[in-house]
Symmetry: C2
Subunit: 289 residues, 2 copies
């Protein structure tokens, strides 16, 4: 398994890391990259993330037997529409989006008869800081990658996609786009909303800055995800709106229960509720490859 | 500055680490420890955290020129009552509790004329795992310690307490018990409630275990504090009830705003709210010594 040319559309942290990892694994001869930002393109060239730059997504896709679309999820449909005609019919195309139902719909609508080329992918990896300057050939090692093929996705394409991510050190699993979005609303999207809302809740108080100076290691870890990229998270939350709102309601019911136990001074009930949470968290271990 | 004898009441992570650090700094000749748990006492002896065990808090305080009360905050008053008569009138006594108004009230009521011996202290340090087996002489290095003396606390005692923590590598600051409790409700106590409620919200869903298997590094960091000790956190949340509930209401207002922006599909408003949170978090750095 070796690819002649990777067409990289979006040269940020996720796309840049994929290109570096693919090179590192000796799986690609050449990387052609497109980014709407000239400074990103220059950095990607300087860092050896891409070999040459394309002037459009279509040009990046042209002649590429492997295409990775690594753009904010809301931009996926426009990109796929731009590349649909130049895309080689036997190429493999993947994305790295954090939501999958919207991406699958976008791909069906944009790629039409070439939808069979597309294997939707979500690598569960990231860093606090975005941008190609943080791209890292090891980003996907020992991380989960979820593929969400539909009934129309040929098994051979799913197998190729699985092999690529496995070669980068990832643990690959398959689920439906719907199951994916329900799960990630719970374990990723809602926590981001909570961390955002929590930061705003503190900083909008008159004494907020004084409070923040006193915060320690617990706060540091709890709020790390609040530093996420605003456009990327705006798109994810809107793309997965119904599931995120459903998780938010379930969370708020639990929070109100805590408020009630605290308000009532119900020591036994409060200890029991914390014991449940604490035991569940202490027994949890991140699924690694 | 060297102490003849540390009376350590409560030999867990916080107390054990204080004893080890004090020894490590050459500041104490002998450590006498009390714990209600025989197995904790044995481990503390084996690990060299204490030199000998006391059969009661009063015995640990007797003859000690330095006393550290490192018990769950709700147990503070009972401990102080037990040691009030044996406490040397010129000794220095501190606690390590995460709430301070309740501790100051307990100390005033229990110690009476010996209240002048007491300097309330809150080291902003901890670990995911409690227990003397995790005690660490470096736990307080480069960590903040907040002292919350009252108008009745002699300046000489505050100075001694400050010198001790500084000698352990901590950065010491002083504030009123009320200001302390308001700040820590915001940056520590509420985040724990949110992490507890979030864990329970997931684990109570039919698919909760499947969801948890997919969780990644963001979830890991966001929920780390949910593994906190149930009894300790029960006590903290009840001791600081009014401030915690106030912070919870402020947070819920922000969360409802996020829900509304997501529900309305308000991309600009959502991006703006996330930008505020993300910028605030990206600009925050933990205050270290």
């Amino acid at each position: 398994m070796k690819y002649r040319q990777l067409g990289l559309i979006g040269c940020g942290l996720m796309g840049g890391s994929f290109a570096l990892a693919l090179r590192h694994a000796g799986l690609v001869d050449q990387v052609v990259g497109f980014s709407p930002s000239a400074s990103t393109v220059n950095k990607a060239l300087q860092l050896g993330v891409i070999d040459r730059s394309a002037s459009s997504p279509a040009q990046a896709a042209q002649g590429s037997d492997l295409v990775l679309v690594a753009v904010p999820v809301a931009a996926t449909q426009a990109v796929l529409q731009e590349i649909a005609t130049t895309l080689e019919a036997d190429s493999l195309i993947m994305d790295v989006g954090s939501t999958k139902c919207d991406v699958v719909h976008a791909a069906q609508s944009a790629l039409k008869d070439k939808f069979a080329c597309f294997v939707p992918a979500h690598p569960i990896a990231g860093k606090e800081h975005a941008g190609v300057e943080h791209a890292d050939a090891q980003l996907y090692q020992q991380r989960q990658v979820i593929l969400t093929p539909t009934g129309e996705t040929p098994l051979a394409r799913i197998k190729l996609a699985t092999q690529i991510w496995q070669a980068l050190g990832s643990q690959v699993s398959h689920m439906s786009p719907e199951a994916h979005d329900a799960a990630f609303a719970a374990v990723s999207h809602l926590p981001h909303v909570l961390a955002f809302a929590f930061m705003n809740s503190i900083s909008q108080q008159a004494q907020g800055q004084t409070f923040l100076e006193l915060a320690g290691p617990g706060f540091r870890d709890f709020t790390r995800i609040a530093a996420g990229d605003p456009k990327i998270w705006r798109d994810i939350l809107l793309a997965n709106r119904d599931e995120v709102l459903r998780q938010s309601q379930l969370f708020q019911e639990q929070l109100r229960q805590f408020d009630q136990l605290i308000s009532a001074g119900d020591a036994a009930g409060l200890q029991s509720a914390i014991t449940q949470a604490s035991g569940e968290r202490a027994g949890w271990h991140m699924n690694k490859a």
